[in-house]
Amino acid sequence: MIAQLIAVWRAATSSTVGGRCGACRHFANDGSTVEAAFPGLAIMGSGFASVRADDGICALRGIYLSGRARCDQFAPYMQARNLTRVRSGAT
């Protein structure tokens, strides 16, 4: 029983693939954006509340999830800048 629980916990907490959603260009978690996407949220809730942590909307998959989740279709915001850095030989 305990071994099973530990296995479940490890499966849930271990990172698997790709990059973090919070740094992905498909991901948006600004409070105003979330309130606009979910009509009525501000009536008895808030896009700026602590309970939301860093959750946001993935436009690619159409799901609402934590910015700490990971995905194999991760696409970084700053790819263009980093590419320039790579091309210029900077590390």
């Binding site: 479940v8 916990w9 499966a11 849930a12 907490t13 271990s14 990172s15 698997t16 693939v17 790709g18 990059g19 973090r20 959603c21 919070g22 740094a23 600004d30 409070g31 105003s32 996407a37 979910f38 009509p39 009525g40 949220l41 501000a42 009536i43 008895m44 809730g45 808030s46 700026f48 509340a49 602590s50 309970v51 939301r52 942590a53 860093d54 959750d55 909307i57 998959r61 159409g62 799901i63 609402y64 999830l65 934590s66 910015g67 700490r68 989740a69 990971r70 995905c71 991760f74 696409a75 970084p76 915001y77 700053m78 790819q79 980093n82 590419l83 790579v86 091309r87």
Partner: protein, 465 residues
């Protein structure tokens, strides 16, 4: 030259909760800063022989309209100062949280002016005869303005229901003895936990039986069982819900919560439940904090008018103990458990990682810390004061002014509920989610009544200092 792997290109990313920015970017923390700041200033003035009573002005009881006008005229400076200070504090917070200030300010001005009218209507000596309780006036007035007259959507920036209610809850902490939290807290947690778990399971399994997706059933269950819209949105993120799911839960929670604002106080009054018992039932069976406070304050108003036994404080205290201490603070644990289940059972392939015990802290409603600190602070400050001195000095000089400011904050919130509720704009919920959620509502209300009235009734009835 080949590209670097995606992981190496990853931009720096700040973990939720680990960054100090949360202290000035989240509404909860600003409620703590504003609420505790007001309490500290009030206490500092009180100990120096002064008081914030001058600033904490509101219309007194009146019978002739000329009396009301006379009061407003004589105290115009106080109202202007009160308005300017509250606007200034909220505007600073609003700009740092990320609301658009040019939209927030006009919205707040409207809320304040309407609040003066709500206060004035509630202070009319015939108000009781016509069942005019300020929270209900605020709610109905806001609903009429939003749905029959209509306001520009950008004004919504000033109608911050949650921000105002959280600030009011921190102020409420200053008037709630910490000893009472310690004494009644365990019972509140026990009662709230029983109802929360049962309600969640009912909504979840009825939803599953009707064919709803696991994640939608979980989002609906949390919305009905824990803390309404806030819980629904927190659990939606934890279980990685489809983006269509939160609006369904929001629609159902808001509509049922508004119904309960009217039903619970009126049924409690018809059953002649004492104030503390009615407040406990509302705390157990309402869904959202702001809606529950509207119902509990209404029920407290019945006690003040002598319609039911007990005091207005008892209704608000028992409500707060069950809703805030018994239900709200556990949202992080619900989120952690459901997120583990979601990523290991329901959604194994789409995305990975991101779950950890720190989830409990990240999602913790931080305004509760302000509420507890305010209670601890004032309780400690007046620990050696005799009962007679408390009533003659502490109550008028410290407690009542804070209570008045809290009532202003609550009124802003109740008005904002009405002003932001545009019934025609709700997402369609669908019959199956409606049935699942409504099944939970029935169980929640019945079980809440049994526990509040039959099991712990004596306990809540005698809630006092």
């Amino acid at each position: 030259m080949s590209l670097e792997p995606a992981a190496a290109l990853e931009v720096p990313y700040q973990e939720a909760g680990s960054g100090w920015t949360e202290l000035w970017r989240k509404e909860d923390w600003w409620a703590v800063w504003l609420g505790l700041g007001i309490v500290l200033v009030a206490y500092a003035l009180f100990t120096s022989g002064s008081s914030i009573a001058w600033l904490a002005v509101s219309p007194p009881k009146w019978s002739a309209f000329s009396q009301l006008l006379g009061h407003l005229e004589a105290n115009a400076t106080r109202y202007v100062a009160q308005f300017a200070i509250i606007l200034g504090l909220f505007a600073i917070a609003a700009s740092l949280i990320g609301y658009k200030l040019r939209h927030f300010v006009p919205g707040f001005v409207l809320v304040y002016l309407l609040s003066v009218l709500v206060f004035a209507a509630g202070a009319w000596d015939r108000a009781l005869y016509f069942n005019i309780e300020p929270p209900l006036i605020a709610l109905v007035g806001g609903l009429i303005i939003a749905n029959l007259i209509g306001l520009p959507r950008w004004l919504d920036a000033g109608f911050r229901v949650e921000f105002y209610i959280k600030t009011g809850i921190v102020l409420l902490g200053a008037t709630l003895p910490f000893t009472l939290i310690v004494w009644a807290g365990p019972v509140a947690i026990l009662q709230a936990s029983i109802v929360s778990i049962v309600t969640f399971l009912v909504i979840f399994f009825v939803g599953r039986r009707l064919g709803l997706d696991h994640r939608l059933a979980a989002v609906l269950g949390a919305g009905g069982a824990v803390c309404g819209v806030s819980a629904a949105i927190a659990i939606a993120g934890a279980v990685r819900a489809k983006k269509e799911y939160p609006p369904i839960a929001i629609t159902l929670v808001v509509l049922w919560a508004i119904v309960m604002i009217f039903v619970l106080p009126l049924v409690s009054r018809a059953l002649a439940l004492p104030a503390g018992v009615g407040g406990a039932w509302i705390g157990t069976s309402e869904f959202a904090d702001a809606a529950g406070f509207a119902a509990a304050q209404t029920y407290g108003g019945f006690a003040t008018a002598g319609t039911i036994s007990g005091t207005a404080d008892q209704a608000l205290w028992s409500y707060t103990l069950i809703k805030v201490v018994g239900r709200d603070v556990w949202i992080g644990i619900w989120a952690l458990i459901l997120s583990v289940i979601a990523v290991t059972r329901w959604e194994v392939t789409e995305t990975g990682g991101g779950v950890g015990a720190a989830e409990i802290w990240w999602r913790f409603p931080k305004f509760v810390l302000g509420f507890l600190l305010a209670s601890l602070l004032v309780t400690f400050a007046v620990r050696d004061v005799s009962f007679a001195d408390y009533n003659t000095a502490v109550r008028p000089g410290l407690v009542l002014p804070i209570t008045t400011l809290r009532t202003w904050a609550f009124t802003f919130s109740f008005l904002s509920i009405g002003l932001t509720t545009r019934l025609r704009e709700f997402a369609p919920a669908g019959s199956k989610p409606f049935l699942a959620f409504s099944a939970g509502v029935v169980v929640n209300v019945v079980l809440g009544f049994v526990l509040s009235v039959l099991v712990f009734g004596t306990y809540w009835q005698t809630l006092s200092h």
